[in-house]
Amino acid sequence: MTSSFKLEGKVAFVTGSTRGMGWAEAKLLTQHGASVILNGVHSQELLDQRREELKKEFNVDTDAFLFDAGNFEAVQNCYNAIFKKYKRLDILVNNAGILEDNLVGMIRKENVEHTFSTNTTAIIYNLQFAARLMMRNKSGSIINISSIVGKVGNEGQVVYGGSKAAVIGITLSAARELAHLNIRVNAIAPGFIDTDFIKGLTPEKYQERLNSVKMKRIGKPEDVANAVLFLASDYSSYITGQVLGVDGGMIM
């Protein structure tokens, strides 16, 4: 059955798509007809497993690249491969992200560099190459995953919050610069979502976070994926430079 989201024939690249929100996004975009290219950084095995899962469920042959989205040369090589094979890119989801909590006074240089490289620098690198492919068709949607912490801040997350706030600045600027090419750039700011990120929380912290969600439930990766699907599709064709909260009415 053809999806009303009309992603058939479109090529999508989702960074950090082997787990959590990225995997939910990759699956949903595939389900609605897009050819999704996967990316992971830690495990070739997991990447291969995800390819197999997409093949089994949707009967598609997916490309998958193992590399660090914050590594300039690796990003360049990936887009070279996308260009060679597909000659186009319609959707980029800058999803790869890491979270390391550190209180002020206990922030290591490596923590800052690693977090900004993955959460922020990677977005600029990918956005730049993606835009060059998208501009050929005068069409494209770039979706950057920020965080509610990038908007309102949180204790212990000076580094993470800074890296995610920067994503909003990148999104707003790129949206203005690329609008004339009909390339839309939007951000999603998830709240409290059930991914590996929350595994380190104590039961007390978990409850405290949950209490701050007005809808009284933790978000699912699929909740974020649904927002990605909307922003990737033509249902959002006149929407650019927006930061969409997916947080169940969370107040931090």
């Binding site: 070279n80 260009f83 501009m135």
Partner: protein, 78 residues
């Protein structure tokens, strides 16, 4: 079509210039080659030669002569 003809074609299509206007001294900032046209020119060259240029190449490509040198780095003969 040899490489020089392919490159001239890419330039002439992207910058809307006649082939005679495309000489070694044609450079960024001249005629219709402005910042807006630059990325269209890059895309046109990439399509013609079936490669994706690196970011440094995109930034360094400041003249027709320089474009030839960059393509030579990618093993195209001129």
């Amino acid at each position: 079509m040899d490489n020089i003809e392919k490159l001239k074609k890419a330039f002439s299509e992207a910058l809307e210039l006649s082939p005679e206007e495309i000489q070694d001294d044609l450079s960024y900032g001249n005629k219709s080659w402005d910042s807006i046209a630059h990325l269209s020119l890059v895309a046109s060259i990439e399509n013609e030669f079936d490669i994706m240029l690196g970011s440094d190449d995109v930034i360094d490509m400041s003249s027709f002569k320089k474009a030839k040198e960059i393509l030579q780095k990618h093993d195209f003969k001129f």
